[in-house]
Each structure stands twice: as C-alpha cells, then as structure tokens.
Symmetry: C2
C-alpha cells in the first residue's frame, strides 16, 4: 500500500474514533489527512469504498498489537488466547481500532452498502481463528472433537459484546479479559 | 406509565429503528408520535433523558416477546434458554428492539451522557439472568459450581455479538440461535 493511502486510512480511523461514522463526510477525512478530497476519491472511489477499506485496515492493524504477543514456539492454543485477548487492552491504538470496528459495524444497520464489508471482515476474523483452532487440534493442544468454525464465531462475537461493555465503562479491561479467558477455556480447554 | 408517554417511547423506537440515533432531534420523534415537542420535554426533560428511557423501555419490552415462551412449570434452566433465545427472532418487533438497543449502545461511545444508562441496562439484563441461574442452582437444574454472575455477563454479551452478525446478514437467526444454544449448554449444561 502506498504511504499516502495508508495516511488517509489512519486519518479516517482517527476521525471515526473521535466522532463516529454517521454523517461523516469525505471532506473531514481530507482535512485530517491534509490531502485534497480529489486524492481520496482517486485512491478510494468515494465514501462507501473508503469505509470498506477502513474495516479491512483495522482488521489488519489488529494483527500488529504487541502487548500480549506470545513467545516464539508458543502452541496454537496459547496463540488463540493471545489473538483474542489482545483485542481488549487499555491502549489508545487498540481502543481506536475497537471503536472504529464497532462503529462501522453498528452503522451498517442503517447503511446497507456497508453490510457486505462488515460480513466479510467478520468472516475473515472468524476464519483465521478457526484455522488456529484446527492447527491446535493437529498439534494436540486443542481437543479434536470441537467444531472449530462454530467456536470461532462464538468467541469473536463474544469479544465484540465484551468490548462494547468495556468501552462504555460497564467493566474494566481486566474484568473483560478474565471473562473472555474463561470463555476460551470453556470452548477449547485450558492451554497444556 | 401514561398512555401518551408510552406512545412517545414507541414512536422513538420506530424512528431510531429506521434511521439510528446520531443527529436525531426531538422534533422527529414528536412528528412520529404526532405530539408537540413541548409535550416530549414535559414528559422526558429533553433528548438525553428520553434516550435513557428508550433503553429501559426496550429492556422491558424484550420481556414480553412470546414466541419461545416456555410452558408453565418450566424449570429455571429451560427459562434461561427462553430468555436468551427470544432475543434473536425474525420478528419485526424483536428486530426493532434489537436495533434500538444496539444503536443506543454504539452511540454511547460518542455521547458520554448515555453511558450510565447503557451500563445500567446491561447490568439489569445480566442481573436478571444471574438470578435465574441461581434459581436453577437451587432447584438443581443448573450445576451448583457455576459462577452465576460471570456466566450471565458472558451470555448476554454473546447475545449482543451474535445479534449484530444476524442483523447485518452475516448469519440467519436460526444459525445465531444454534450457536447461542450451544454456548448456554457449555456454560450451564443441558436442560434436564
């Protein structure tokens, strides 16, 4: 991705993180990114496509969080804890990511042209987790009888529900992470 | 609650279900309810308070869904399935309720004066489920060792996460209900 394109996506995330998606105009993102509206149209072909790329971008960015990154040689079961728990951290970059994700998802109820992108992002997220569960089953750190796809959808949906409670202040990140870790253990067993 | 007050709350739910909360003005709700703006201020003291009452109202209304209502004499464990599964139904009244709930919750990230109401509504919902879990433990239909409050928060958070996937079209209501039912069984065991 070109540097300029990435700057625009980061500016879009900052603006959405501050004020949400509803009524958001490309002009506000152009101002935040310090580029012309025309350049945003050149790269993204308008608001709907830009928001779809923003979703993919926050998905990709979530893979780069480092706080809980497990040691090299960690089992798939340990990496599962990591990829889920790293979504709930009191870190400004993580919080911005989660707000953008939650906000674009919620506004898709009122903007049908966002729904495909939201569904695809959810599927990508669940599919990558299901893959990790199957790896754990092959290496013997996750019980073989578990339906990987179902467990992955449930766990990613639970992350969304707990994140919403964390971000509105109903619970601390620590409590949300504890609840999530117990859910993972119920779905997949405890790391060996 | 006076009939007029209830009409205003129902009008507010219809408007929010159609177009969301962001930028919503009391005038639009007045028009939908066919009352004056002054009357809405008289009953609700402005937009923030009205939205808080809308949250309580959808919470109360959710208790009236009937499709899955269990037979008289059902065990607490059976009623737990019911109170959770009835949140995910292809029924216009349920869908409107879930959209309003999800939308007010999501917009609380950007409207701090809504956060307390969202937290309280979440707490009420989880507390009523925890109570039912404890009743099940007393009557012996739910295992005694389960931490009722934790299980209740996880299951209500999961309902939110699955509802979002259902309403954006990522899965059918039937699939979401199956996934939820399996999660309940993992948390609480299978109904006796």
């Amino acid at each position: 991705m070109s540097e300029r394109k990435q700057e625009i996506l980061e500016a879009a995330c900052r603006v959405i993180g501050r004020r949400g998606v509803r009524g958001l105009r490309v002009e506000e993102i152009a101002r935040e990114a310090d580029v012309s509206v025309a350049l945003i149209y050149y790269y993204f072909d308008g608001r709907a496509n830009l928001l779809q790329r923003v979703l993919e971008y926050v998905n990709d960015r979530a893979g780069l969080y480092t706080e809980t990154r497990p040691a090299a040689g960690a089992s798939a079961r340990e990496r599962i804890d990591d990829v889920l728990l790293r979504e709930i951290q009191d870190d400004p970059a993580v919080i911005e990511n989660v707000i953008v994700w939650s906000e674009v998802t919620a506004s898709a109820l009122f903007e049908p042209n966002l729904r495909d992108a939201v569904c695809r992002s959810n599927e990508r997220w669940a599919a990558s987790l299901a893959e990790l569960i199957r790896t754990g089953q092959q290496e013997g750190t996750v019980p073989g009888g578990i339906a990987a796809d179902d467990a992955a959808v449930r766990l990613t949906a639970l992350v969304d529900g707990l994140s919403s409670r964390w971000l509105t202040g109903a619970m601390t990140a620590e409590v949300a992470r504890d609840l999530l870790q117990q859910a993972i253990a119920r779905e997949l067993g405890v790391p060996a």
